[in-house]
Structures are given as C-alpha cells and as structure tokens.
Symmetry: C2
Subunit: 278 residues, 2 copies
C-alpha cells in the first residue's frame, strides 16, 4: 500500500511574507493552490490574533481559496469535534512563539489525534520556528547557543511526533545553534539533526523518505550514525561534551536528502538552467 | 633524523590569567618551567604596552624565570638582529588583537625568518586569538558569523606558516563561527579546520603529527577530505554554499587528534582517575 501521509513543510523562522514569499507560496501550492484551505494554528504565539492576521493576509495574497484561524487556547477547546469544525482544511500551519505552548496545550488531545489521522490521509502540515521544532518526537525546548556543547546545553521535551527520528532546530545559522543540536545528538546518535536557517524550509516526502530544501539559505544535516565516541553518559552537567565522527552536510535549495540512504543529492537541473563554466 | 620542531600552543582567546591559568601554565612548563624565558610579541594589540603588562604579570606569577617584551611596531624594527636581541627566549607568545597587524608587520622580515629557524630547532611558539589565527599558511581575517555560509562569508589572507595544512579559528563556539570555517573549507577541502573555544588550546606535536586539547572547553575539528560535493567554484558571492560529507569532531581535554591518520583519540586515563559506572 502506498504511503499516503501528507508532506510536511518545516520553516526555520523569519520567512518572507510580503515579497516573493517562496516558502509560503510553496505551502499554498502543496495545499491545492487556488483550492487551498489553510488552517492557521496560533497556539505558540503570545499575540494569537496578530499572528493569525499576519498569515491570513499572506496566504490570501498568495492565492489560497480560504484561510481559517484555528484558535485552540486550552486543552478544553482542543477536545472539540475538529472534523466538523475544520474538516475542509487542506493544510494546517503552526505559527512561531513557544513550542511548549503547542505541546502542553495540544499534545494528546482530540485535536492532536485529528491532525495525525488527517496527516496520514494526506493533510499538509506546516510550521515555522516553534511550529517547526514541535514536528518531531523529541524537540529542543531551549539551549544556550553561544557556548561549547555540554550535556546541559540543551533541554529536550516530547514533540508532536509528525516526523519521527529527527531533532529539528530553527533560526539555525542566524543564532549559531549547532552546539545545542550536537548536544542533543550526543545523547542519542540514532536521531538525525536537521538545522533549518531563517527564510528556508524542508519539504518532507514520506513516500520517498526524502526531504528537499527550499528558500533562501541552508539546511544543516548532522548524521550521528558513525559516532565512535561520545561522553554523554559519563559527563557531569556543564562538562564539555566529546563527540567524534559526526557527518555534516550544508545544503541549499534545491538539494535533497534521503534519510533512508543518509545521502544528500543535488537534483539535476533542467537543461539550460545551469550556468556553464567560465 | 628526528623532528626537532618546537611545539605550538594555540589558544582560542579569553584564557584565564588570574586563576588556575591552566593554558598559560602549560606554556611556562613547555618553555622550561622555572628556566622559562618567555618573549611577548604584542604586535596584534591596539594597546601594546597594556597587552605586554598583562602577560608579563601572568607569566611571572606562573613561575617563568623572565618575561621579555618584544616590541616590533614596524617592518623597520623587524629587521634587527633578533638572535642578539632576544636569543635567550625559550618561548614566544603572540597577544590578541588584529591578525593582519601581525602578518603585515612581521611577514617575510628577519624577525619572521629568525622565529622560523628557532622554531625548527625547538623554540615554543604560542599565541591567543589573533595570535592563534596567524599560525597557519592561510588564515581567516574576518567573516560574518551569524549567517549561512556563503562564498564571501570569509576573507582569507596569508598567515605566518608555523602550522601548514590547517585553518584555525578562535572564540569558536562563543562567537558561532562554524559557518565561516566551513566556508574556508569549501574552497579547498585539503585543509583541516581547527576551531578553538575560549580558554582552551591545542598543543601541537610535530614529531607525532598530533595535537592535544587542553583548557576549559572544546576544539571542533572539521575534516573535509571526504567532501563529495561543494559548489564553491560555481557559486556567486552571497549565494549559499553546498557542502556535503564533512566529518566533525568536538573534542574536550584531554583528547588528541592525529592529523596523519585523521583520527581523534582519548588517551587512557591513569588507573583510578576515571569514574566508574553508576
């Protein structure tokens, strides 16, 4: 049976909204273009109304048929019959803010179950910044960026589980976050570290077990499968981590990465679109 | 014939001077302990007198026999007979500041030739911050830290050449500099990237082609030999770099790294010094 799971569009924060808006434009296209019905979940944001207004404007400008604010402010609201309330959505977009607000409000609710069921049937799920971090099973909650990786550089929590097997970080190069992603990786090298820059996204294709990069900057992939030594189990909090043989890839658009084969690949450009050698 | 080249002690900046001062203490030990005569070269520093005073105090407190300020403010001064003027030094330490002040003032002078000749005979050469960057053949002069690596993220210049085959960066985790070191590596994966954190150092042993880490934090090694793809020769300035299959190690003290074998190694602890499992 083919995998019908919908794509994820995971954005590193600060995506362009007023200009070319390549990343958000892609979300509208994935959601059906002029037939797209985009639900916006502002649960992460401190000012939910403002976050909703920003994205309603953006998605309407980019040609979505309809944008539906999905206010879920409490676990009590999250138990509603979401299929009745928002059954028409073709994509759901999570705004930025605090990823713990998403997981603590929505985790394990009927809303969460509804999203997971619809996702398996093809619903597009997208999110930016905090809305990116929460996509995985285990998410980074906070971590000191400007220091050497240590065991307590990073605080982890349970994410929403739309993309198992990875740990995602956002605002990645802009906030110098490789230390905290390495720190998460050291504790269990089985996960794949995916660091997404601002105005940049990964589009996850579950059928092909591949993601591709889109947007302005890069995605940093940290593959810990070859790690020969880590002191994560021995080190006392605050002690510097030791970590060897991590494989690192820095991938701009339109590069792809297959997490089945653990290999990056640059798709061949259409003839005539690539510059010749000088 | 055995390699008689002296060790290098390369410090990532902001080393402890008033407390335990493990890094500077090691320099005094390498230089002969109570027989150490440490020359301090403040050429990189904006306030040379203050830089000299700081390190004279530190090295005297740590038990050096003598500390000699080596003021070389111009290429004209650099042509002096340094063997006569400073022949007794057992180590030379370069202060921090601007690495281009070191190379533009001292590069190719009689002072430089004297240092290289004495280094081959066993003189210890050390430096912190700018005094660390200038150690290699090619050095990083400046580079934007908080951005995605691009071809013009980093500006390179010719260093003093005491340690060929590497590119060194300092204040590494503290200033989020992995992007600029990757950018340097993308342009020629033959070099080994060595990123040194603050209050941390590498001690380079030429006979064993190995360095070891000492001090408080970590050294990040970026090995580009396995890079399968980089777009450094195609990309326009400002375009994001693509870079695959870099091997990354994060090494705290007392780890070693052999650049002959390209492998990190944790020296076995003496019996009884390592904590047992819980």
């Amino acid at each position: 049976m083919p995998d019908t799971t919908g794509p994820l569009l995971i954005v590193g924060g600060h995506e362009d909204k007023a200009g070319e808006a390549a990343v958000l434009r892609r979300l509208v296209a994935l959601a059906g273009g002029t037939r797209a019905v985009v639900g916006v979940v502002p649960t992460a944001s401190a000012d939910e109304s403002r976050a909703v207004a920003t994205y309603v404007d953006a998605f309407e400008r980019l040609g979505a048929a309809r944008v539906e604010p999905l206010f879920v402010r409490s676990r009590w609201e999250a138990v509603a019959d979401w299929d009745r309330r928002a059954g028409a959505v073709t994509a759901v977009f999570f705004t930025g803010g605090d990823q713990l607000r998403i997981t603590s409000t929505l985790g394990g609710t009927r809303f969460h179950a509804w999203l997971r069921a619809r996702h398996r049937e093809g619903l597009v799920i997208a999110g930016t910044s905090a809305g990116a971090s929460m996509m995985s099973d285990v998410m980074i909650v906070e971590g000191d960026a400007a220091h050497t990786p240590t065991l307590n550089t990073v605080r982890l929590a349970v994410g929403m589980g739309f993309w198992p097997g990875v740990v995602i970080d956002q605002h990645f190069s802009q906030r110098g976050r490789i230390g905290r992603l390495l720190s998460a990786l050291a504790q269990n090298p089985a996960v794949l570290g995916v660091g997404i820059d601002e105005n940049t996204a990964v589009e996850v294709d579950f059928a092909r077990r591949t993601f591709r990069v889109l947007g302005q900057a890069c995605v940093t992939v940290l593959d810990g499968h070859g790690i020969r030594a880590t002191n994560a189990s021995e080190s006392r909090p605050g002690q510097p981590l030791a970590l060897t043989d991590v494989v690192l890839h820095v991938l701009p658009a339109p590069w792809e990465y297959s997490w089945a084969n653990r290999t990056p690949r640059e798709p061949e450009a259409a003839p005539g679109t690539k510059e010749g050698e000088a």
